[in-house]
Subunit: 389 residues, 4 copies
């Protein structure tokens, strides 16, 4: 909490929290071995938005939904945005996709062939058009580009090509638009990825200017990486644009955020709060796959997990912490942090929800709502949405 923090203050901060859910979380997803289809999943972007609206309806803190192009391509984006507004949510970040066209087998913006690079840049510019049409202010750039074998392509030349592409997209951004550059250690490239770590993303964003920032996907690091350090560092540099939240035990497992290491999530949220990032500028976005669990409840649970970690982070007695730290009291300082973490914040959040005219138990309330059964019954026929559609 702020040094003068009280439960009232904390609740005000939590009430204002904004966690964005991704349209693709409502469709089918899986591994390279199998995508298990689930009943009732959306067939089009409109249905995805309808599902996202449910998550906001029951949690009160998920007011926007991110789109993924081309998976969410529609003829009339203004209409889609209107549909979202009517459902009670807004359009969030636009996510580009330059990894599924057959041309991109060896790369998109870093491909050795200028024609392919041109095509990829064209797609990125189209995404900015869609931002204009939907009112979205954030473009999320993830490049799966990389190589599988040593020697396959020139690592450094690919950086030159990447820089060129980023320059062009950056130049196209409107005055109130930004892009977030994502990094990822590996997958789908298995030897060298072109934006493999925060340092690479940071260096490019720094060169470009204030409208380019780094997005931290919590599943995109090497084993042992201290993510909260990166968060603290990027905040200090003014370059933390937001999060793609999910959790992992191994690689980019894309499990529900908070499911694998809730203490890590708390530490991350603490650094966000401590570094002044708890504001509209640092976007809290979910990016995960519900391969085996139902989609909407999976999103609700994830939103709640972020909320709980945030509440605990806000509860940290920062004055006591600072005092113990400056005294070199190792155990005392650690204890201040752990006291907040060990607190059961579920009663506080239940209370908050009631103040927000929400049911205190979002999971139970959603289950009782009948929405899940309704979509299973109604969404028959058509092609289910997934990563390929």
């Amino acid at each position: 909490m702020t040094e003068s923090g009280t439960t009232v203050d904390i609740k005000a901060l939590l009430r204002a929290q904004h966690i964005e859910t991704p349209s693709w979380a409502y469709g089918n997803s899986g591994t390279r071995f199998k995508v298990f289809a689930q009943q009732g999943v959306p067939r089009d972007p409109y249905e995805k938005i309808a599902d996202a609206a449910q998550v906001h309806l029951f949690t009160g803190v998920a007011p926007t939904v991110a789109l993924h192009i081309p998976w969410d391509r529609v003829d009339d984006y203004a209409d889609l945005a209107r549909h979202a507004r009517e459902a009670g949510v807004g359009i969030g970040a636009i996510n580009s996709n330059v990894f599924q066209d057959d041309d991109y087998m060896l790369g998109s913006v870093t491909h050795p062939d200028a024609r392919v690079r041109r095509k990829a840049i064209g797609h990125l510019l189209e995404c900015v058009d869609i931002m204009d049409e939907t009112g979205s202010d954030t473009l999320k750039l993830w490049f799966s580009d990389g190589i599988n074998y040593p020697g396959q392509d020139d690592i450094r030349a690919r950086q030159d090509r990447l820089a060129e592409a980023l320059d062009e997209v950056y130049a196209r951004l409107g005055p109130s638009q930004r892009f977030l550059l994502e990094y990822k250690l590996f997958e789908p490239a298995f030897y060298a990825t072109d934006v493999p770590d925060w340092g690479t993303a940071y260096a490019h964003c720094l060169r470009l200017g204030p409208k380019a920032q780094v997005v931290v996907d919590t599943g995109h690091h090497a084993p042992g990486t201290n993510i909260e350090f990166i968060v603290a560092f990027l905040l200090r540099e003014g370059k933390l644009g937001g999060f793609d939240f999910n959790s992992r035990f191994y690689a980019d497992d894309d499990l529900m955020v908070g499911a694998a290491d809730p203490f890590q999530l708390f530490r991350i949220m603490y650094e966000v709060v401590r570094g002044g990032g708890y504001s509209a500028d640092v976007a809290f976005m979910l990016d995960q796959c519900h391969n085996i669990e139902p989609k909407i409840p999976g999103q609700i649970r994830s939103v709640m997990n972020v909320q709980e970690a945030t509440a605990k982070a806000l509860l940290v007695d920062r004055a006591a912490l600072a005092a113990a730290q400056s005294a070199g009291d190792v155990l005392g300082a650690n204890a201040v942090l752990m006291d907040a973490y060990n607190t059961d914040v579920r009663p506080l959040l239940a209370e908050l929800r009631e103040e927000m005219s929400l049911h205190p138990d979002p999971m139970g309330a959603y289950a009782a709502s009948g929405y899940g059964a309704k979509i299973v019954a109604e969404r028959v026929g058509g092609a289910q949405a997934g990563w390929g559609a």
Copy 2:
């Protein structure tokens, strides 16, 4: 080399090497993000075997091809085996697949529901039937079974179910049949996998008896795992059944064997040779994905990589090594091993190939053969083979 080893002896051993290629390596494969289709890939098991035969034609050491059921399901397995023989190869291991049916979302032989377990066991028994029909003596069992979230299922109960299934399959094996149990750290399960490490596979195989052995997939370990130690240990226990070769920089990347860490491959082959495993009993199988490189050349290169590592392992001066080891001469002993590794064995292998009436340069010879162009031209229409078909 054996203590009395000579180049002649080494060539004799190399000439007798038997590396099995997998039918699925000839079809399309990819990541969860995208499968990039390639021109000319097989449409059915017959075409896959034809491609596998090319690898043997140019390398001389790939005389069998492994099948994967149901991907290679045919009406008449005897006919498929005949086709293989005519093409110059034999049918190798039968690989079961209990991970792609919709019923297997929460597991196959370890699923909480007895009906699903029954179905999975039924498939495994069918694979033994196919062994009977094709004359295959080896069943490879990989279970993707596991859970994504703590608490999702009972870890120990799943072991009980696994044991039951293995018992039933083991009992069905004929007198000259065996199964190899594969382990894998993670993917597609992301919290707990039911056979995650060699210790688990070993414990089950030990209980079952001599017809159950462990197969080491070189891409299925935690970072930092010393694979050659496992090889040495399993050989000492008489429980090393074979290898699924591939290479990785990160997780189960399934790159060409020898591409990521050729020194590791050499060390593995050295332990095989040293432990007496260089014989028909320890199966050398490839199991990899050629996501972006052409399939047949990818297999040829992989076979050559295993061959080169084997040649180097056979070149180790074991008498000199033993002397340095027993003297506690750290640098001297390491140097003996490195001398063999640093040797360029390509001339030796070129010579061997000429003695085997093969072209000394398999990659070049295949490229010059026109087979690649031929299949691109001929294999038009139909459904390309991949992991799903």
Copy 3:
């Protein structure tokens, strides 16, 4: 909790918990870069035991202290045991040390030289003598043996030597004595460790018989290893002898247990409870280094962390969990586990302590006791205990 579990039952179980602290945690420790000496640390085994007694005095659940030979070598072990009893604690496991004599540079029981092996075995047998003299029933065997360079020694021959040594020590054990074999991925050996993983320890223990069991040090695994799986598996096989608790973010960091990933500690304790291991047979031992924090408070906090994780594990509604698991309710089953984990058990434990006539806040009570200041004042001069003495 057991299916009929109540708070009363849980408290009874917690009251009976037995967490062993290690004598070496009270001395100085550090990294290869520096050992920072602390004021007031013990100069001999008697003072270490006095400190261990403080931990028990304030927590009520740390009634024994493990010894480490030769660090705790005394002339009269019966006298040391008597001193411990008078201080209110007992002697726990005897830990052997075959890694610090100059002879052990290239190994102890697996050394290429039979003379060194003989010496190492001699030390292990001496430890059994000390068990006889102190009444300890558990010998803990950790072998740092391994090699730094490929080829340095023969991996398999070292297993043969290891097996011989274990045979001899096993044969020496009395009817109510056992040994626990520890495994560790790496450090101080950096290429191949002779007992690197649970599978290796398990295989040796299985061959030996019921008096040989595996001990799980929670910091000794490769990144990504699922430790609770190993716990569940070893319990199923009757081969889990106990734990060396500590925590780590990277390698064998030896931080306070529960400090790095408290959720993992909870999952481990849940598998212990679920697998019937919550009894005298599975030893809960701490093995960690307090490099920068004060020693006694570090141990108290660690004991409390294990206690809290245990309380949460006992709180799991196992009937509800089993129901959700067998229904395939992924989110529901996970939620049952998380409900227990998210509970703040500190009030329950404070209550328990008061019932046990202890101060509800062990850290505060110890700080207020003046013991810390007393030992700083009294323990002046002499050689401070550390890993080398």
Copy 4:
């Protein structure tokens, strides 16, 4: 090779190679468990330099030796430099040490206490004085600073303190002096290290200016990190100052460079060559521990390993590589790289040595020289050099 490269050109480049050995490699080193002393190790900086001169004498490419302060503190640095010159070597980088004074338990330049920070900065400035006295142009800064427990200190405030210290040292550098900032994932700090990755070091160096560059220690990364990518990236940014070479299987094992993954070393050297870093500006330094192998031969072997990797990197047919890369020929491009790697360059290097009037076999020649026996006989009494002295 350069596109017009010939064996003559390659030999000229190899002849000019400059690999620096570290004074501390000649003293004793070990792990936290034990430092095994070796006979004949130096007792003072003069003897260390004498040993380093032997490495140059037999390899011809190790003309400088790095110092470590305070381990190499002497009264008269000009005299030490003169001694080095007479022995045939020069003084290389000055390595600072702010991790062994008792004051640094909780940090040095990032310590919460300004007095400790002042003291640490004082030491760094003293190192620049020593640069002036010895003529060294490079200061190497490694900060072990970090924290072991979440909350122990404020991650971001520590960055502020680090920046202040770097500012002051940077300002003190003379016109032809630079400093290299080292990063390391962990050890001795086990939760958060203040300069944990290249991104952090890069960001600080970028802010400071051209006299601040990043040094890549090949053992300081998270598992799976692609080091050659970092090399290529830093070269592109003009921020690669040099290497601390060593190798590792697990963590910062500090084994001989090239011993664990020679293919990785080759890939690193290839990126150096390709990126124009094969020049005086990118320093090739060794930084490793010979815990169990003899020191001088360990250094000779390491120098040879770097030399072999360099030779292979120079042999890469860059024109053929570029052609295959731009054609998108995955296997072809990889094959060009592998051809160079698979070449046995030992004959080429033997030839080069003879042209340089050196024995073609440095290891054998050193062994035959009697120097090893001489120092064992002569260096009796006195305190052996190690990390603490």
